[in-house]
Symmetry: none
Amino acid sequence: MTSTLKTNRIYEGDCIAILESLPEKSVDMIFADPPYNLQLGGDLTRPDNSRVDGVDDAWDKFASFEAYDAFSRRWLTAARRVLKDDGTLWVIGSYHNIYRVGAMLQDMGFWMLNDVVWRKTNPMPNFRGRRFTNAHETLLWVSKHEDSKYTFNYEALKELNEGIQMRSDWTLPLCTGSERLKDADGHKVHPTQKPEALLYRVLLSSTKPGDVVLDPFFGTGTTGAVAKKLGRKWIGIERDKAYIEAARARIAAVEEVKDLSLLATPSKRSEPRVPFGTVIERGLLKAGDVLYDPRGRAVARVKADGTIIAEEHKGSIHKVGAAIQNAPSCNGWTFWHFKAGDQMVSIDVLRQKLRGEMAGAGLN
Amino acid sequence: MTSTLKTNRIYEGDCIAILESLPEKSVDMIFADPPYNLQLGGDLTRPDNSRVDGVDDAWDKFASFEAYDAFSRRWLTAARRVLKDDGTLWVIGSYHNIYRVGAMLQDMGFWMLNDVVWRKTNPMPNFRGRRFTNAHETLLWVSKHEDSKYTFNYEALKELNEGIQMRSDWTLPLCTGSERLKDADGHKVHPTQKPEALLYRVLLSSTKPGDVVLDPFFGTGTTGAVAKKLGRKWIGIERDKAYIEAARARIAAVEEVKDLSLLATPSKRSEPRVPFGTVIERGLLKAGDVLYDPRGRAVARVKADGTIIAEEHKGSIHKVGAAIQNAPSCNGWTFWHFKAGDQMVSIDVLRQKLRGEMAGAGLN
DNA sequence: TTACCCGATGAATCGCCGC
DNA sequence: TGCGGCGATTCATCGGGTA
């Protein structure tokens, strides 16, 4: 129950038993691609283990949904225990199972952050022409609690999307070609191997380098392979020996990125705070200097204690900036400017200068 | 309980009571846009400090998931009774409610035909940068029984989609501009009016001319307006007098459409935008790889988030390319190259490869 | 007349830290 | 645990006004 957590390895066996053997609140993120085939013969039993009589169709289906729900509740409960309070969980599925899983997640206290649609560029067509081409799968992204401080690398995803914030619909091809693992006979090793690009986006968005990512339905190890590429620790759980063997070889062949700085996805939010007073203290501005709003009207004077005065307002750069604009809030760093020669320069430049010095001195 | 069915009219009142007063098995299709149970917290402001006009109507307030589920079960039970055995039901929702509704539909014996994603071309951004842009809503399309002989106009939908099978993801804009109903003061009449293009696809795909379409949450009557255009009979149920009044006027002004080809929503001709990050995500380049300028000097390294680093410059391929050349702008796709053996190859080759995949699927 | 600029707005579960 | 301060945050589209 309280073993230490060994990472970068595959645990062989039933995911529920193994999850229950791992230390609680030890994992930063869980990615799960659970089975959704409701026609599994062995699973067609009622919760009380009585066999389902195949004569009554309606009851048969009800029983199989119940069995699936019971299975889902067990692995989700075990997964929730292992997840850190500020961790998140991803589950991928199709219309056969995802609505049941989604409702259960909400009932268990998970908090929905997004549902994400994987739009397939190359889905299998609907041969009989009786329905719309089933061209997408759904991922649910949930935090453990409503008020969790979850990880979301907003800036990184925005960069990945060339400057526009990432949307909840992701257009990606199926896993085919050389990425698709084949056995010696040329048959695919796993029936539903996920594309690495999908996991790349999942891991880049919701984990930090060094985080521990767990996949309770590891299959052929796409999660592990991408985690290794991105400098994340990983844990896989899988009961099929053939999948495990394929996953081990696959992950062993992945090269780690040597320069960890290339994996960093810095955000403004994580940069150290610099009080405006430090700017005065360090002599970059001095008491009596004049600050201007973006339109260049002279409006505020700097005081020795790092507050400013404008018209009848006094206080912090943020508070006065908000008051001047009659707005509920204001980022004073970007609002206020000073004159350097003829140029109007944002005081944020001064903050950047101080941050640069702090980083140079190994501080943070 | 067994009144005759009057069509092309709005029933004023509670949808459950009215559904229970209609004859059973009398309706060919039901389209339902129920309250989403958004559970919105406090105010939300945009970066420019303007306030977002969120959905705060009383009809979307529920005390708990249990209360919402009880409401859903009641209207779905009433709707199921009214639906013909070979009829189908559509429900639209967001992640707040659709997983609960989907699971309940399955539990009630409805048979899932498709889940369809309405991919919004112009969704509201995520103003706080805390999640993925919530850029889609989900429609569930279900038959009353597993073996229903439901209507699906495969050929018509294929025509509507320029000869390609209609997929389960529909790319359509929000209802804005002149289509959006406004009151005398210019305020929107209904907070969540759906675009007619969405209803075209729904009605065209799953009903025949002359069929009876019922909408238990009629609002301002998009379903009725489109039904009239397409020569379907319609029944609306709505309890808000202001919505009813707007819907009556709107539908009265509708003329039947004879040429269905006018309803096609042409795909964009422009080439799909491919962010450089996609090249990394798809493994065509990886973090740590080196990019060269056209003269072949080693100059930039690729980061995991699709930015690059060269000398002291970091940012997008375009921004860094411009900085290196001390130019105002730069097309990074043509400027940067990678080594393939001895050859220097433009990264634009990689973009063309990705574009080809997307274009092949008719995506954008 | 046309081109450009600016403001408005859409089903949204939209902070974090320290005192 | 609550409160207040710091300071971070937007894309596509439409319509009206101006050059």
